[in-house]
């Protein structure tokens, strides 16, 4: 075991640092999705043009074809340089793209992957429904096959960036009368197709980042099914396992920046003299270190075996809850200034309010605990 990097990896890190030093935009990313879309697309294009998009994606689709270790190095430097959140590109880069790489046909990959990397195509996710949240297999949105098309009816909810998206990773019931995990398909849905209505939903933090999506006889070519008709569940799970494995490295890396800022802030305003606060900060710093160690362990596992180990879900749970502890600490350190929070502000309070999503989206903390208990510890399945 070792934590050092090779000479080649160290050179790569220096390249990342040099480019970020000169290119991270001075202006802040706008907080609302509709205002931020131009910013997000322009920034992604700049990353692509300089060769920083899709570092571990295959080169024939516009990626760099490097290893996951280089991807982690890039993300570490990205966080250190305080580069902006990739925003609306998040779903394409972290869910849609990786799922296509694993499951899609050559034509699908050749068309979509470069567009995702260039920031030309914004993706959103269509998994949850009003009646299918944690119980994702309860999906009722259906696609009736007519000739070489699927005719889609139903609705999805909590779809981040739906109102600015071009494409959606949509899981629907393509086999009439099927139940649970069977008869589902994972479809590339054109968000500009007739019959789609998007109703943006305002969050308690004030932003309009997610939405409800309604489908009224929406026609999508059967050629847009990924991984074969009826295989939607396993395709969707490959996305989720990717998400639980390596999709959140960016967040994990970000925490190491945040804890240093919190300690500095507590020193600056004198609150660190409060023993309880000092102790909490010490604890958080140890936990942030553990996240990096867990991430490195997981990456090593991927490098060695090609896939994240079963402990990936442990990292996902630990990181999401740690992020919330950091956000609570940031709010605590603000003291009475918390009371001044108003909609539209982009500050620690907004992060704290948005941060509740971390233990809800992509599998709640409770579902993660079920998975850990059942897959890692071998306890009997409750569902």
């Amino acid at each position: 075991m070792h934590i050092g990097f090779t000479a080649q990896e160290t050179r790569f890190r220096e390249e990342c640092r040099d480019w970020l030093d000169e290119n991270v935009p001075a202006e802040k990313r706008p907080i609302d999705a509709a205002d931020a879309i131009d910013f997000d697309k322009a920034w992604q294009r700049r990353l692509f043009d300089a060769g920083w998009a899709g570092i571990n994606w295959p080169a024939q689709y516009g990626g760099r074809g490097l290893s996951i270790v280089e991807q982690v190095i890039w993300l570490e430097e990205y966080a250190k340089a305080r580069a902006p959140w990739i925003g609306a590109n998040f779903v394409g880069i972290n869910h849609g793209g990786p799922t296509l790489i694993l499951n899609a046909s050559e034509e699908q990959k050749a068309y979509h992957l470069p567009r995702i990397l260039k920031g030309e195509a914004i993706w959103c996710q269509g998994f949850s429904e009003p009646g299918a949240g944690s119980d994702l297999a309860g999906i009722r949105t259906r696609g009736r096959i007519e000739g070489d098309e699927l005719v889609i009816n139903g609705s999805k909810i909590w779809t981040s960036f739906a109102h600015v998206a071009d494409w959606q990773e949509l899981v629907l019931r393509s086999e009439e009368g099927s139940t649970r995990h069977k008869g589902l398909s994972w479809v590339i849905c054109d968000m500009h197709a007739p019959g789609i209505t998007v109703r943006p939903i305002r969050k308690m933090s004030g932003q309009t980042e997610f939405a409800e999506v309604f489908y009224d006889d929406v026609r999508i070519p059967l050629a847009n099914v990924v991984g074969g008709l009826g295989n939607g569940w396993s395709v969707a799970m490959s996305t989720l396992s990717f998400e639980r494995g390596t999709g959140f490295i960016a967040d994990q890396v970000k925490h190491s920046q945040e804890i240093e800022e919190l300690i500095a802030a507590a020193r600056a305003n004198g609150m660190i003299r409060d023993e309880r606060i000092a102790d909490k900060l010490a604890q958080l710093r140890a936990e942030v270190a553990a996240v990096r160690a867990m991430t490195y362990r997981n990456i090593s596992e991927v490098a060695r075996t090609g896939q994240p180990g079963p402990e990936a879900s442990v990292i996902r749970l630990f990181t999401s809850e740690l992020g919330q502890r950091l956000e609570r600490m940031a709010v605590l350190l603000m003291g009475e200034d918390v009371l001044d929070f108003a909609y539209g502000e982009d500050n620690a309070v907004a992060d704290y309010l948005r941060g509740f999503a971390a233990t809800i989206a992509g599998g709640t903390a409770q579902i993660q605990r079920d998975i850990i208990g059942e897959r890692l510890l071998g306890l009997p399945k409750s569902r």
């Binding site: 075991m1 070792h2 934590i3 050092g4 990097f5 990896e9 270790v69 300690i263 660190i272 000092a278 102790d279 900060l281 010490a282 604890q283 710093r285 140890a286 936990e287 270190a289 553990a290 996240v291 990096r292 160690a293 867990m294 490195y296 362990r297 990456i299 090593s300 596992e301 490098a303 060695r304 402990e311 442990v314 990292i315 749970l317 630990f318 409770q366 993660q368 605990r369 079920d370 850990i372 208990g373 059942e374 890692l376 510890l377 071998g378 306890l379 009997p380 399945k381 409750s382």
Partner: protein, 308 residues
């Protein structure tokens, strides 16, 4: 960068666990035979840390986490660390003193048949020539009264600080002891997690194994999370020491803090999962909890180091 054990390390882990299962079970930790120490020495665990062995901290941490899982004798920590830093001075078993100043009596852990005592001080490790036998001046280890500790595997006695002393000033010496203590705590947290998960699969209520119920399942999952976080940081800290990283002291402290918490919290959760049985002396559930309480005082992580 690679934080997974290589084949040789995995084989060593497996061999250690196998030997422990046959010779040093957790359940028997309060009645260990005098001959156990001879067995531990024969297996090489008291001297694997010697310079001549050329093992790295990462390998040591992996093996000590396995030993910790079976609540191996506390003085294995002091004996192994003393062998690295006082190589030519050390003979036989070295007990572990918790704290001490010139005026206060030392609290010596696991003293039976020990030849010397190892103690961590502010910036150094000190080896004391304080053999256990003849402590009262009337010879023979059998006549020396040892007091129990909360950890049923560990006896103790109070001793004045007398006799010859040697010191190791290298700051890495203290970190070495802290790292292996963290490894013991990681093993202890693992033991409690495994015990709870095994029981949750076995014990039935309402016609089902209790591990079927989310309320119990989630207690066990949290135990797994704590153990995984502590173990990962242990690996990182061991590598930081091996590679002379500037922040090695921070990482060893972080590993100890997380491992101590994991051991204590998992120890408590294990009692809860066992229900009434967990309350009993007869069942083994209280053993990791009590070991965890002892480990809190062995090289605790300081807040200053964590915030430095």
């Amino acid at each position: 960068m690679d934080l997974t054990p290589n084949e040789g390390q995995t084989a060593l882990q497996t061999a250690t666990a196998e030997w422990c299962r046959g010779n040093m079970t957790l359940e028997d930790c309060r009645n260990r035979a005098d001959a156990l120490w001879t067995g531990l020495e024969a297996m090489g665990w008291t001297a694997m840390t010697a310079r001549g062995m050329g093992l790295d901290h990462a390998t040591e941490a992996l093996v000590f986490a396995e030993l910790g899982r079976f609540l191996a004798p506390i003085s294995l920590l002091s004996s192994a660390v003393a062998r690295r830093w006082f190589e030519e001075r050390v003979t036989g078993k070295v007990a572990l003193a918790l704290t001490g100043s010139v005026h206060a009596a030392l609290r010596i852990l696991d003293p039976p048949a020990s030849k010397m005592v190892l103690m961590a001080e502010a910036k150094k490790l000190t080896l004391l020539d304080l053999p256990d036998a003849g402590a009262e001046g009337d010879g023979g280890a059998h006549h020396v009264p040892h007091a129990p500790t909360i950890d049923l595997s560990t006896l103790q006695r109070r001793r004045e600080r007398t006799g010859a002393e040697w010191t190791a000033d290298d700051p890495t010496a203290r970190l070495h002891l802290q790292l292996l203590s963290a490894a013991f705590a990681v093993g202890c947290a693992d033991a409690a997690r495994n015990m709870a998960a095994d029981y949750a699969k076995l014990r039935e209520q309402f016609g089902r194994p209790i591990g079927w119920f989310q309320s119990l399942k989630h207690i066990c999952s949290d135990m797994a999370v704590r153990a995984a976080a502590a173990r990962s940081e242990l690996y990182y800290a061991a590598c930081a020491l091996d590679e002379h990283a500037a922040d090695a002291a921070f990482h060893v402290a972080a590993a100890k803090r997380l491992a101590d918490q994991a051991a204590l919290d998992n120890g408590r959760a294990n009692i809860q999962v066992h229900g009434g049985l967990g309350m009993t002396d007869e069942a083994a559930a209280h053993l990791p909890l009590k070991r965890a309480h002892l480990l809190q005082f062995v090289m605790p992580a300081s807040r200053e180091t964590l915030l430095a």
